[in-house]
């Protein structure tokens, strides 16, 4: 009987998820539930039909482009689209806090399969995760983006410039973020491998889009065929 007895990773309550008939009649493996439906329902998925065509933000917009993206297109002509899985709401904020800053690495299990499944469905792309600084790596112990990849082949092509990060990015305000300098460089051995590839940059959160766009512009320099983004939350 204990096959059906699990506690929710987020709220700690016992998960009651009855076995369904379609599950019994199928040959699917048993995946132990990780979070309860109540917690899961607090996260809101982005409906791919109602988004900004550029940055993947949820909502309906004139000309299918959001305010930010119109601004971006004034700055640069770079072709870059982003898509995201979940809306960045309070529940997601709390989750990220637990996952990234409290260092609950096992929380990646909540979403990793769902997130990776989306990536698997994109064909002929090379997945490049956004890296973290060595300092962060020392304190956190893991890259939260790579943690969300399960069974996905990725190219760890990017690294952070060797400069001390005075303030964590999450502590910067919007204006400061937008003024950021290129924080990344492409590792030597990957420089040739990027050429003519369709690159998908993967990050955990898309806030202003500065980080991922900086990375995209860097990769375009090495003659990638296309560069687009996929983030977990937006």
């Amino acid at each position: 009987m204990n096959i059906t007895k699990h506690n929710c990773l987020l709220c700690g309550n016992n998960i009651k998820r009855p076995v369904t008939l379609s599950f019994i009649l199928s040959f699917r493996p048993y995946v132990p539930p990780i979070v309860c439906n109540q917690c899961l329902n607090q996260f809101i998925k982005i409906n791919p039909k109602q988004i900004c065509k550029k940055c993947g933000r949820s909502g309906t917009f004139d000309h299918y482009e959001c305010h930010d993206c119109i601004k971006w297109s004034k700055h640069s002509k770079m072709s870059f689209k982003n898509r995201s899985l979940y809306q960045y709401n309070q529940a997601m904020s709390d989750f990220m806090h637990q996952y990234k800053f409290a260092g609950n690495y096992h929380l990646r299990n909540v979403f990793k399969n769902e997130f990776s499944l989306q990536l698997v469905q994109m064909k002929e792309v090379v997945v490049v995760p956004i890296p973290i600084t060595p300092d962060t790596m020392k304190t956190r112990g893991f890259n939260q983006v790579i943690g969300l990849l399960s069974g996905i082949e990725y190219m760890d092509a990017l690294a952070t410039n060797d400069r001390k990060k005075e303030t964590p990015q999450s502590h910067l305000n919007r204006h400061e973020r937008l003024k950021m300098q290129q924080p990344f460089y492409v590792k030597e051995q990957f420089k040739s491998k990027i050429k003519n590839k369709k690159i998908i940059l993967v990050d955990d959160i898309y806030t202003t889009g500065t980080t991922i766009r900086l990375a995209a512009s860097l990769i375009y320099k090495y003659k990638a065929q296309s560069v687009n983004g996929f983030t977990f939350a937006r």
């Binding site: 009651k16 076995v19 008939l21 040959f27 493996p29």
Partner: protein, 719 residues
Amino acid sequence: MILSCLLLIFWLIRIYLLKQPHFFVQNVLIAAAFLCLCLFNFNRLEHQSVVINHKQMQVQIYPDDIQYDGDYYHGRGWSDGLNQHLIISGYAKNDDDLNQIKQTNHVSGTWLVNADVSPIKSPTNVNQFNASRFYQSQNISNQVKINQMIQFKPDHSLIAMIHNLRFKMMQSMDQLPHPLNLYGLSLILGSMNNDFNSELTGIKQLGLIHLFSISGLHVYYIVNMLELFFIYLRMKREDYRLLIMALLPVYFVIAGSSIGLLRSILMVETILTTKFLKINLNPLDVWSITLLINLFLYPQMLIQFGCQLSYALSFGLIFTNHFSFLKQTALMNLIGLPIIIYHIYQWHLLTMFANLLILPLFSILIFPMVIIGCSVGLFIPIVGQIIAQILQFFDAFVNLIGNLPGNIMFGKLNIYITLILFLITFSIIAVQRKFKILFLIMLYAVSFLSIHFPFNGEVSYFDVGQGDSFLVREPFNKTITLIDTGGKITFGNQPQTNHYQADGISINYLHSIGIDWIDNLCISHQDADHCGDLPAFLSEMKVKRLFIPLGMVNNQHFMNRIDPYINKTKIIQVKANDHINGLPFDIVHPFVQGLGNNHDSMVLNGYFGGLKWLFMGDLDQAGENDIIQKMPNLRTDVLKVGHHGSNTSSSNEFLNAVQPKIAIISAGRNNRYHHPNPETIVKIKQRHMIEYNTQTNGMITYRYFNHYGSWHPFIKNSN
């Protein structure tokens, strides 16, 4: 056997693909333990078969387990000596004897009897009810025939007292006005005719199949009522739950210990136990545990129709609860359908409607009324009378619907097809897709057509004991001809009962191949072993034409017997050389008018599947002589030997003239006439004929296509 292996493999693959190694190992270990248990049980059942003749033995009998049918009584009992349950039967010698038995069987006790013990007989006809297997699933393998009762010693144990109580309740409930008494007996005490056939007839009627599975309903009723009562007494919840757990087994005995009851009581007990232990289980867990306990008690129980239906429906109930009432009812009917068709071969179109309309009526109105009627009605007769009136009205209503046309005689489904239908149905419940529903309908349609338009034809000799009954079915069911019906010969002043053995043998077989009509019913002559079960055919099947030998309409005895049942059937008298359209036979005998005695027997000659066939009835040697005189060119391949192989038939001259190659003897095992006569057997052996005998072969079938066919005796010759 193959089926169960397939299911086992299927299950193993399924749980392996769960990819939970611990779970897999646990399950396989539990399954292995169950397998050992089953093998152990099988072995024990095999070894408990015994044959004892005329021996004194002690049998413990509860009064409510015995039923009377005229001077015949039967039921079940327990033997300490043999350490097993037994089926009991016996005949009272006269009225005094019967009264004495009834008087004795008033309270529980141990009977010292002189009796014969033998294993329960296996069926000898295709698709006949397997009593041996049915009782084995209840761990019973022997029957006791009581010859004489010697001594009685009452039993005062607790269980005996409960049985005494149930018997008293049965008696007092029987005094209530009709039909309240019947409703009370069946719904509250679960006392329908316990004989195995009634396992089916109760639900054969207008698909009140649910009544069968909701026999669990009264358990929930009783539990709820008890809870309310204890709450009124201000008892603590933990206390009264324990009390209910203790009382339910008593109720199980009182309410008749049926399968559906066992299921629902086990379910309630499981729920209460888990509540007591503060374990949280979902309904599926409860269902599974109940099934495990049930199989632990009776490993073979799932071969029973009622058990299959009860568990399938309660399983379906768990997964259809979120649908609307209408949809749930429809799906529940769909779940039961393959099982019902597999076991009873037919289904009424209005079942669904009846379940929708009658079932709610039943649980809200009828059941509470019966409870009130049977408790209050005992003391205040007027209450009972009013409720009986309402029930009568309800009865008339149900019968009205039941008599509407719409019964589909489907025929027996192939077991694998049944399983596929069952799985598709559940898969539809899980995820509805148009193509699945279409496939389900197609599969039903294809099965129906293949049963109703078979490419092959058949000539079958039923094993009806001492008597004749043969079926000739042409390919594509072009004509269905039955020669004689079989029947029991009654002696002296034994009362005529409405119980026909044809119901369980030939009619059952015809239903199982999807046939509910007979084009030509030929009665060779008037003896009861040839036409005794004719009323059963006339009343239960559409008989288009009834052929009798010329002059038998003047036989008042015969005509009186069939008169009430004749309805739209055309009676046609025949004599030799008559040609009748649609009858695939030539008539060879009688030449002159008679009253339907042995020497007037109708003799039929036909050609099927490359062979010539002759059916002799009980014609004597003089009649045979007439035939070879008047038809010197008559030859045959298959001879139904006249008069069950008696030496009054089958003269050497006749056998030499018609030159049969295959002889069929239709006679009862250990019959009192010692048919077939050794002289006849010698004649058959001398001519090197192939011999089939219903005594040893059971039902004998020749299945043919075009001019070729093959013999399929139900029991193959051992030599």
